[in-house]
């Protein structure tokens, strides 16, 4: 009986491995991403990552994160930077490439792991959803507006300005009054 | 003064045609040991239950019962619960709680006794009954004898003045039963406790009783000191059926010309025979067992254990039984006799050795084939055989399984029922039958399978002397049909009459094996009471009839 349970658990773990595939990369390999050089005729977008709202809600922040190391003084994790927009790139692809290039930690919930049909960004630079109060998390704007889609379903155009913002109040503190949830949820 | 006085007590169950008790008048002296006996259904249990107000059955009654000069109905509830103790037949179902100590305390808890009092009394009783070693055990872990002793002790803590016991030893093996009776005797002797005991195994209780109450059909057949019971019964009816149920010494006395006082015990019986028949020549030794006939069931070097780490239960059991032969295997409790039958019946598998049924290895019987037309096992508790609401429905079912045609089915049921004399029982619920009736109906169910080999596990457990005699007749009948019968039992008296061949099972093997008269003549202790009475004169006399024949032969 006991043994059966153990075997079952091991089998489930193994199955998870198999289903998700097993591609193991070393740290250096992973961060060794190629960023396309910007040329005259390449389409580009601008991307920035900010967490200004945390500075205003310092008391609500998880005590382990109360350090400049995790929350920069000016609230800027990634300066507004221009990136090449490859054909078919979604907001998620761009974020993923940018964080990888700058070795910024990022964790997401894959498309297969949730019911929204889109990847969901759980944390960037160790700042996670709920890290700063129960209404906190990551969201993004495109040209200042909040698209109602998940980030892997939104495909930006040439010249778009994408801003990833940390909110401590479901977006209300960064100008989203529509009441829609984070990242189109 | 009389502890109980019963005046003209009659009782009838609702919707019954006859009185269960009719016009009973008797008195029980304080401090006496009274044994009640009689055929099943004679009203013993009803009478005993009438004496315990809490258990009195519903129905129409007339007459009075006085306890200590006071009408039983007027006795206070507390006094009635405390002073009149009642032990039921089945050791298992009357245990209420899961722990031994809790069971002991249960009655006193009901009385509202404070913890300190309960602690003291429980401690005292546990010491008196030698329960201290299993005081903290679960009641389900106890053996049958321990359970019944616990039931007795848990009544004794309430300090009763009188103890009523309804066949308390019927589910126990002989050794546990003797222990239990000895405890009762001790209570009677040392504490002056009044005891009313219904019992059908009279060998041990008869000599220690002050009075024996023989009942028949709801009335009193005799209420006498043990030495005069036999005479009283004979005066009433020279062929009184109860005469056959009396202890061996009394039956021997009854069978020969009755001179002097009636002996009650083996010791008295020996002296009695020595005084009067020591001149008789001993009988001719019976012939030794001659193997012959076609073997029906063979066990060859069978080894068995319950699991790898446990010791062997069977160590090379070897025996064979021929067609039409009755083979009795005797042995103590828990020696593995039942396990051996289970193996023979294919319920368990031996890890070494062979079992051959009609010359074919057990393994080669597929599915239910073995149990159809070949072999049937009657378990120790015949109740477990029945699954339906009436005996008849159970019979019908087994016939369906056997795929008899409708006509064949009716014929089979009729002939089997007629043979075992159970026609009137067919419409009843199996659980409402007495032990002996259940046994017969269960046997009938087995016979519908048309077995050639019949395995009986403790068939005499819980049945009275008459049912035993009937069973004996049935076994003799079945033998004539060529059915091989293997019986496993503790009951030496039964074995010596039922068997063509007896064997002793000990330490996982069959140690000796011979015709009953030679088998018991060889044993000193493990033999019948009649043989123990007469063995110094005629070692080959094993049954009461043998002894009587020996005495008569000399004249």
């Amino acid at each position: 009986m006991k043994k059966d349970l153990l075997v079952l658990l091991a089998v489930v773990l193994l199955a998870v491995f198999v289903i998700r595939g097993t591609e193991i990369q070393s740290v250096d390999e992973y961060y060794l991403t190629h960023i396309d050089d910007i040329s005259e005729d390449s389409e580009t977008v601008f991307l920035s990552i900010r967490c200004d709202t945390i500075l205003e809600n310092w008391d609500a922040l998880d005590s382990a994160l109360r350090s400049e190391q995790y929350v920069p003084k000016d609230g800027v994790i990634l300066q507004k930077t221009e990136y090449v927009l490859r054909p078919g790139d979604s907001v998620f692809d761009l974020l993923s490439r940018a964080t990888r290039h700058h070795k910024i930690q990022m964790e997401y919930q894959g498309v297969r792991d949730n019911g929204y049909g889109s990847a969901y960004i759980r944390g960037i630079h160790y700042l996670y959803e709920f890290s700063c109060g129960p209404l906190s998390g990551w969201l993004y704007t495109v040209n200042g507006a909040f698209p109602g889609y998940g980030c892997s379903k939104y495909f930006p155009k040439d010249g778009d300005v994408i801003e990833w913002k940390y909110t401590c109040d479901l977006g209300r503190d960064v100008g989203n009054d529509s009441g829609s949830g984070l990242q189109g949820r | 003064m009389d502890l109980f006085r019963i005046e003209n007590l009659s009782f009838r169950y609702p919707a019954a045609e006859k009185n269960a008790l009719s016009e009973i008048s008797l008195s029980v002296e304080g401090g006496s040991f009274v044994v009640l006996c009689g055929q099943s259904g004679c009203g013993k249990t009803t009478l005993l239950k009438m004496l315990k107000r809490e258990l009195s059955p519903h129905g129409s009654r007339s007459g009075e019962i006085f306890y200590n000069g006071l009408c039983l109905q007027e006795l206070s509830e507390r006094k009635s619960a405390c002073e009149i103790g009642y032990v039921l037949q089945n050791p298992e179902s009357q245990t209420v709680t899961d722990k031994v100590w809790h069971e002991l305390a249960f009655g006193l808890e009901n009385m509202g006794a404070p913890t300190s009092v309960i602690r003291r009394r429980v401690g005292e009783m546990a010491s008196f009954f030698g329960i201290q070693d299993w005081f903290r055990k679960n009641t389900s872990e106890l053996s049958g004898g321990q359970k019944q002793l616990l039931n007795l002790a848990s009544i004794m803590v309430m300090q009763p003045k009188v103890l009523i016991l309804d066949e308390p030893t019927s589910q126990l093996d002989p050794i546990a039963a003797a222990d239990f009776i000895a405890t009762l005797q001790k209570l009677n002797k040392d504490l002056g406790l009044t005891i009313l005991l219904a019992e059908h195994r009279l060998e041990e209780v008869f000599p220690i009783a002050d009075r024996v109450l023989v009942m028949e059909e709801g009335g009193i057949a005799a209420y006498e000191p043990p030495r005069s019971v036999e005479r009283a019964l004979r005066e009433k009816n020279p062929a009184h059926p109860m005469l056959k149920a009396l202890p061996s010494a009394v039956r021997i006395f009854c069978g020969v010309d009755r001179i002097g006082d009636c002996p009650l015990t083996v010791k008295e019986g020996r002296r009695y025979l020595s005084e009067h028949w020591s001149e008789n020549p001993p009988c001719v030794p019976p012939a030794a067992y001659m193997p012959g006939g076609e073997p029906a069931l063979e066990l060859k070097e069978v080894w068995f254990r319950y699991s790898r780490d446990l010791p062997d239960v069977l160590r090379g059991v070897t025996f064979s039984v021929c067609k039409g032969e009755s083979f009795c295997i005797l042995g103590g409790n828990g020696t593995g006799k039942t396990t051996m039958l289970d193996i023979a019946a294919g319920l368990r598998k031996a890890y070494r050795g062979k079992v051959l049924v009609a010359g074919k290895p057990l393994k080669e019987y597929r599915g239910g084939e073995l149990y159809r037309h070949h072999l049937a096992l009657l378990p120790q508790n015949p109740q477990t055989v029945f699954l339906k609401k009436t005996v008849e429905a159970d019979f019908e079912e087994i016939c369906k399984v056997m795929e008899y045609s409708a006509q064949e089915r009716a014929d089979m049921i009729e002939s089997v029922s007629a043979r075992l004399g159970i026609e009137p029982l067919q419409k009843q619920h199996p659980y409402d039958l007495s032990g002996g009736e259940q046994q017969k109906c269960a046997l009938a169910k087995m016979l519908l399978l048309r077995p050639r080999i019949l395995l009986l596990d403790e068939p005499t457990k819980g049945i009275d002397a008459f049912a035993k005699l009937q069973l004996l007749e049935i076994i003799r009948e079945l033998k004539k049909d060529g059915i091989a019968i293997v019986t496993v039992t503790h009951d030496v008296e039964f074995a010596c009459m039922a068997a063509d061949r007896c064997a002793l099972f000990f330490d996982g093997e069959i140690v000796s094996d011979d015709v009953p008269r030679r088998f018991f003549a060889e044993n000193n202790f493990y033999t019948t009471a009649a043989n123990r009475i007469a063995r110094h004169l005629d070692p080959f006399a094993v049954t009461v009839e043998d002894v009587v024949a020996f005495c008569r032969g000399g004249k």
């Binding site: - | 179902s93 009357q94 309960i118």
Partner: protein, 293 residues
């Protein structure tokens, strides 16, 4: 045996509640390590011999499985070791996995100890105080279950020996099982009639029933209960004041070494090892007294 098990059920119950509560509501690795060690040591005194090592093997594997599960699903932490399908497997996540494994396995061990020490009669005693009728009913049920199982087995075997429902098909087996069950219901009723008779014969139903038990609350029990309470309160206070706060993400926090924190560790250690200390003390006493003889 069983110096600890011989304590009053109330003390035992409070002790287990305290330990389980503290283990379940902390993620502090020091506390969990103490809890796990304490539980395993205690369990070792309860279950000696081969059973111990076999179980230890089993729980070691379980521990590992739980420990590797966390880094597969959680990717937080500043020290990535390698990347699995584009997700970092971090040192912090692995350490947290070990921490969770310690939490779960220690709770399992405490529960195992609980079930060995708090036998049914102790449990019944505790709750029988609150509802006396219920405790009797439970006690009767506990007696009845083995009886029922036994009889059901006997019936099943008797049927099998008649070749009924012995077929290999599942339908046949199920039908056989149902029939046996239905007759067992009848049997239970018959049995209950006898039990009822036996209860009435012994005056059940009279007013003013008391409830007897073998347990006595002694001074020793009082001391032990007070000790448990004090240690529990101390650790709880430490928790409330934040001395026992610990985080794994994004970076493993340092173990606090303030004096108050160390006091908390000591208190918790004492609490977790109390049963083991008690058992060992008794064992040593025995060895000592035997050697003197």
């Amino acid at each position: 045996m069983k110096a600890f098990g011989a304590l009053h059920p109330l003390v035992l119950f409070c002790y287990f509640i305290a330990v389980l509560f503290l283990s379940a509501f902390t993620s502090h690795p020091v506390l969990l390590a103490l809890s796990l060690l304490g539980a395993v040591c205690f369990w070792a005194t309860l279950e000696q011999g081969g059973g111990f090592w076999r179980s230890m093997g089993y729980y070691a594997v379980l521990f590992l499985l739980i420990a590797v599960t966390n880094p597969l699903f959680s990717h937080n932490g500043v020290t990535p070791l390698f990347f699995l399908n584009g997700n970092p497997v971090t040192l912090e996540a692995i350490l947290m996995g070990i921490d969770i494994a310690a939490l779960m396995v220690s709770i399992i061990f405490w529960c195992k100890c609980y079930s060995l020490v708090m036998t049914s009669d102790k449990f019944l005693y505790l709750f029988g105080r609150i509802v006396p009728k219920l405790s009797l009913v439970l006690s009767m049920a506990l007696r009845f279950i083995p009886l029922f199982q036994n009889q059901a087995q006997r019936v099943g075997r008797a049927q099998k020996a008649m070749g009924l429902y012995a077929g290999t098909s599942y339908v046949d087996k199920l039908r056989g099982g149902l029939r046996v069950f239905s007759v067992m219901v009848t049997w239970s009723l018959e049995n209950a009639v006898d039990t009822g008779d036996s209860m009435r014969a012994r005056g059940y139903g009279l007013k003013g029933r008391t409830s007897f038990s073998l347990f006595r609350f002694t001074l020793r029990d009082g001391v032990f209960l007070a000790g448990t309470a004090i240690l529990f309160a101390a650790v709880l206070a430490g928790m409330r004041m934040g001395y026992l706060h610990f985080t794994f993400y994004p970076e493993v926090a340092p173990v606090q070494t303030a004096l108050a924190a160390i006091w908390c560790y000591v208190c918790y250690g004492l609490l977790a090892f109390l049963p083991f200390i008690l058992e060992t003390e008794e064992n040593l006493k025995w060895i000592y007294s035997v050697s003197k003889i």
